[in-house]
Amino acid sequence: MGPSKKELPRLVEALPAFPPSVCRILKLTSDINCPPREIVRVLDQDPPLARQLLRLINSPHCGLAEPVQSIRQAVVIVGINTIKNLALTVAPIEMLGRDSDRTPFLEGQLSHAFAVGLIARQLARRLGLPERETSDFFIAGLLHDYGKIVLHRLFPTRHNKALALAIKKQLPLHKAERELFKLDHLGVGALLAEKWGLSPHCARAMGGHHLPDDPDSDSPLPDCVHAANIIAKTVGLGVSGNPRTKTALPESVARRLGGTLTELTGSLGEIPAEMHKVQLFLNAWNATPADSA
């Protein structure tokens, strides 16, 4: 059952609630003097995230003599810096993977989203934006394909058909989705952005990242996410489920970002290492039984 126009309200109803922890953790940790209790407070209000953190800390790798039972106890034993740094990686993974059974598609999505978030933020830094503004780029990159994840979760069979169709006919995924759903992941992304009350720039990144050119846009955010998406696919970070990869940036985007695809790809810095780390986290996750926290 795919959503038709009259099913839209029901779809919006079924959309996940916005998980705000990632934004709050990014904002808090961008200030080196942030009081530790503020970070713990965010985790207190997000039990699934706290559970994931405790799972990692209590994993056999970490080797604690006695398991910790709560985030507060964990802060005493392993320190606030360890908790804070773990949360920075775990919160985005948790946000994308929440409530989901991991399928290979979703796992690929997760690492793709992470890569696009990291690259979009890097592009923002490259443009000289102040650090406190760059976390929005990370979030927008992280969410740019969230519509795809939602479609896949709500209608797994039909979405798998769309994925297969895209490969068979070498179509962009949103076109294949439209053949089966009347609505593509961009449309779902736009609905999500509206439901969550995200900024117009973020909404554009989620609802229009395949069509970057918008003369009205006064923010480089849609450009950065659009370029990050292409760069991630070019360098093979994560799997987007889209068979077609562009080999160049639109000329206008390259001009506004001040570099060609090759030049921007050459300035990724620590991102491949960071992605390697994300993969290690996903492995650690899958290796730990879900109820061990």
Partner: protein, 295 residues
């Protein structure tokens, strides 16, 4: 047991005329068990002069216990010359890094990447083993046992305790006493205080009655408010801890890099004057490079 200090400076090596008496090398402590087995605590720049002193004994088997992998505790490792000579053996022990999801081998071999150092790990001639330790895991080294406890630092930091024929020494590595992250009026304050109390008991039990406690004493109580959360201890905090644990002798180490010898000796005297000696109190001393202690 015999203890020799090869590096006592914190954070960064500080050679120069103002640090001649206490020394400028970063943390490295040699411990010899009664059977003369070689244990090394941390691999700061002091590890280089230690390596030179080992030449008459080659080939050697060294047991290196790393408290944590901040620069000042590992920078001497690539310069441990026995690593380049066949027949020597180095066993390295340390904690897992949960933030990077890497074990001690992965963290340390990162230091031997070609862009940082001209010799790759695969090119080292000695036999090198890595052991990622669980908390409180005991390692037998000849006639000594070495165990550990997580202390409080921005990264996981093991304090180590060595016991040998009834004598004992604890080295904290880098450690800041625990403080409540809540204000007394916060509802979470009491629960957090309870966790701190439990942890302090574990730390005190870990060092209960040891002959020698070697403790990170980077700061003065007057420095501390500006440096809270950086993961280092104070003179006053360590005196209190050593008293509570019934330690026989306390060595202050990890000296602040900007503290010249004269100033270091003065602030130590002032701290001791704030806590007049009472019967049963630990003897309190400053470490210096080259100092040898027999227990």
């Amino acid at each position: 047991m015999k203890i020799k200090f090869w590096g006592v400076r914190g954070s960064i090596a500080t050679p120069g005329p103002t640090t001649l008496r206490h020394g400028g090398n970063t943390t490295c402590i040699e411990v010899r068990t009664d059977a003369n087995a070689l244990i090394i605590l941390d691999a700061g720049t002091g590890m280089h002069p230690l390596a030179l002193s080992l030449f008459p004994e080659l080939p050697i088997t060294a047991h290196l216990f790393i408290t944590h992998t901040h620069w000042d505790h590992i920078q001497g490792l690539p310069f441990f010359i026995p690593n380049f000579i066949p027949g020597n053996s180095l066993k390295i022990f340390g904690a897992f890094d949960p933030i990077a999801q890497r074990d001690i081998r992965e963290v340390l071999t990162g230091q031997l990447q070609y862009c940082y150092f001209p010799v790759r790990e695969a090119e080292l001639k000695a036999r090198i083993e890595y052991h990622t330790l669980r908390e409180r895991q005991t390692v037998q080294v000849a006639d000594a046992t070495v165990t550990n406890l997580l202390m409080n630092h921005p990264v996981l930091n093991y304090g180590y305790r060595i016991d040998c024929n009834g004598k004992s020494v604890v080295f904290t590595g880098d450690h800041e006493h625990l403080t409540n992250i809540y204000e007394p009026e916060d509802p979470e304050y009491a629960e957090y205080a309870e966790y701190i109390e439990q942890r302090n008991q574990a730390i005190v039990a870990f060092m209960r009655g040891v002959d020698v406690l070697i403790a990170d004493t980077s700061y003065l109580v007057s420095d501390y408010p500006a440096k809270k959360g950086w993961g280092h201890g104070t003179f006053d905090g360590n005196i209190a801890l050593a008293r509570q644990a019934g330690v026989k002798r306390l060595y202050f180490t990890h000296h602040e890099p900007t503290r010249a010898d004269d100033a270091l000796e003065r602030v130590c005297q002032e701290a001791l004057a704030r806590h007049p000696f009472e019967a049963g109190d630990p003897e309190c001393l400053l470490t210096r490079e080259g100092l040898t202690v027999e227990i």
